[in-house]
Symmetry: C2
Subunit: 351 residues, 2 copies
């Protein structure tokens, strides 16, 4: 229940991160619209004119800043606190889209926002305190405890089975295959990002951690996990509609990340049963809010995705995907006489 | 956070009450269907054949048992705990309707159920302990403290303004007028029911409270409040569609009941800020769940209402109204060739 100074820093950084990432969609989308209006060719149809649009670059930079804030947040607060807060970026972009892009927010969408906020407050109130770590070696011993090694082992085995057995067989018909690979790898990404973030934080505080091979090992793990995760995430998004992938991915990724953190950092060991139960309920509420927000928005394949504007950098990207802010450019450009729904269907058939 | 023995009793009673009330809808509806099938005249069209149907009477008795359990629950646990749990009866009837009446529960309806449960768990975890009261005179002194008298005064003044100024003017065009009167009176009903329930509990425990005029005064208040509340609730339901009235009524009634309880019983005085905030968030989550469940169900004027099968007895009736269990008979009887939506519209025009 106690809210330590480090927890507070992590919390504020996670909020800032959600704010930046949420806002970045809206800015990028404004840029894309402007570029489309100027050149007449949309990113979704292979146009690259948005690269000349300063607004698009501003959005891109905002996103990078948000991702960095998210990365640093993991160095200060437990993953159990930071990961679910990623859902707030959905709210930021939904609210900004309502006011700036004049995309009407559905009545149930408002309900989804209220739920995400209520759930986040409950999580924040009951978040465990961050352990004070003085060296990367401490994290190393946490990462090599039998329980966590068992978790890592299971994840690796599952990922291999999914990649080599299920992916060729039903990867293009069952949404759970690619999304499962991403989520499993994502939970390891979060843990390694947290380890690396803490090591860098200590280094900046004067306790050089770069002398330990463990720090470099964590760096390698981060790179491997992020690349695998991104690769399969793009496959999932190329095969299935964002509206289907995003909520499933968010639920699986966040759940697995929390499980991994609870095993590795023993987040729940010094918490009361009531606090843990409240946290779980808060998490369920955020999940419900996310699903609700999604089911009220019509998603379609993101135009900017295809144009290459999408460049995932950190594990919080579930939130970014969930905002759907990228994908709705067409909706407002129905002047060309084709109903957006039809465009959407046509697109899906392309893949 | 501590869960006293009395709180536990009140909690179990509130759960039982929700179970009984939720089940009563389903049983009554089965009875109504059977009666309609046997006689060919539906309650909504003035038939009274359901009075010969034992199943309908079983449902009616189940409801009475639920109402009594609810009444007794108020004697053991704080209103802050008992009142929001009324929402669980919606889940019971939605789930039973899904399995017994084969009314398909919408995907978002399931989400609403999950949220109501998560919110209720959060409320239960953080509910304040019930004060141990030894005499009705203690409750009397709580009821006559300046803060609560101010609340009662404001409620009475507001009710008078609504009844004599707004009701004749816009009572039949603005749903907030009749619903507001019900909710304001409802908060006083809950408080007086709690006072009377506690007095009766003490009497049964051997400390006779019937010798005090205060007990009889509370009885008078209960009667007055319940009659006023029911009168205007029926007006609201006669004028507007149940789908519109129920969520508004649930939100206003539960909020005002909690405010009244917090003022009178000082429920929040010995609680931490975190616990109070968690409770409020839990309450908001339950409200969102209720609204979500409603917006996924097509409500229409309840057929059994008109046939007189509806007989409100206690303040928990918000839950009963919200379940919508009564109102969907027509949906499954579209064999007569008239789309249910049309029936619904036609009905609304009648009022």
């Amino acid at each position: 229940m106690g809210f330590s100074k480090d927890n507070l820093k992590g919390f504020v950084l996670a909020l800032l991160s959600s704010g930046f990432i949420g806002a970045s969609f809206i800015i990028k989308k404004k840029g894309l619209r402007r570029a489309a209006a100027a050149s007449g060719v949309r990113a979704g149809y292979g146009g690259y004119s948005y690269l000349l649009e300063p607004l698009w670059w501003l959005g891109f930079i905002t996103m990078i800043v948000g991702e960095i804030a998210n990365f640093v947040a993991y160095a200060f607060a437990p993953a159990v606190l930071v990961t679910p807060l990623g859902a707030l970026s959905i709210i930021v972009s939904a609210v900004l889209a309502h006011f700036i892009l004049k995309e009407r927010l559905h009545r149930l969408g408002v309900l989804g926002c209220v739920m995400c906020i209520a759930g986040s407050i409950i999580i924040v109130i009951h978040a465990p305190k961050e352990h004070s770590i003085t060296s990367v070696l401490e994290i190393w011993s946490m990462a090599t405890q039998p329980a966590f090694l068992l978790y890592v082992g299971s994840v690796v085995v599952l990922v291999f089975i999914l990649v080599f057995h299920f992916a060729p067989q039903c990867g293009h018909t069952n949404v759970l295959v690619f999304t499962g690979i991403c989520s499993l790898m994502g939970s390891l990404t979060v843990m390694s990002v947290k380890a690396l973030g803490t090591a860098l934080k200590l280094t900046f505080e004067g306790k050089n951690q770069l002398i330990y091979p463990e720090t470099w090992f964590f760096m390698l793990v981060v790179a491997t996990c992020v690349i695998t995760q991104m690769n399969y995430l793009n496959k999932a998004l190329d095969t299935f509609n964002t509206a289907v992938v995003s909520p499933i991915y968010y639920v699986m990724f966040t759940t697995l990340a929390i499980i991994a953190s609870v095993i590795m950092f023993k987040d729940w060991d010094d918490q009361s049963g009531g606090a843990i139960l409240s946290e779980i309920c808060g998490f369920i509420v955020v999940l419900c809010g996310t699903i609700l927000l999604h089911s009220t928005k019509e998603f379609e394949r993101s135009s900017s995705f295809r144009g290459g504007s999408y460049m995932p950098v950190s594990p919080s990207l579930s939130a970014r995907l969930c905002s759907g802010g990228n994908g709705e450019l067409e909706k407002h450009e129905e002047e060309d006489g084709t109903p957006s729904e039809e465009i959407c269907l046509r697109r899906q058939e392309l893949y």
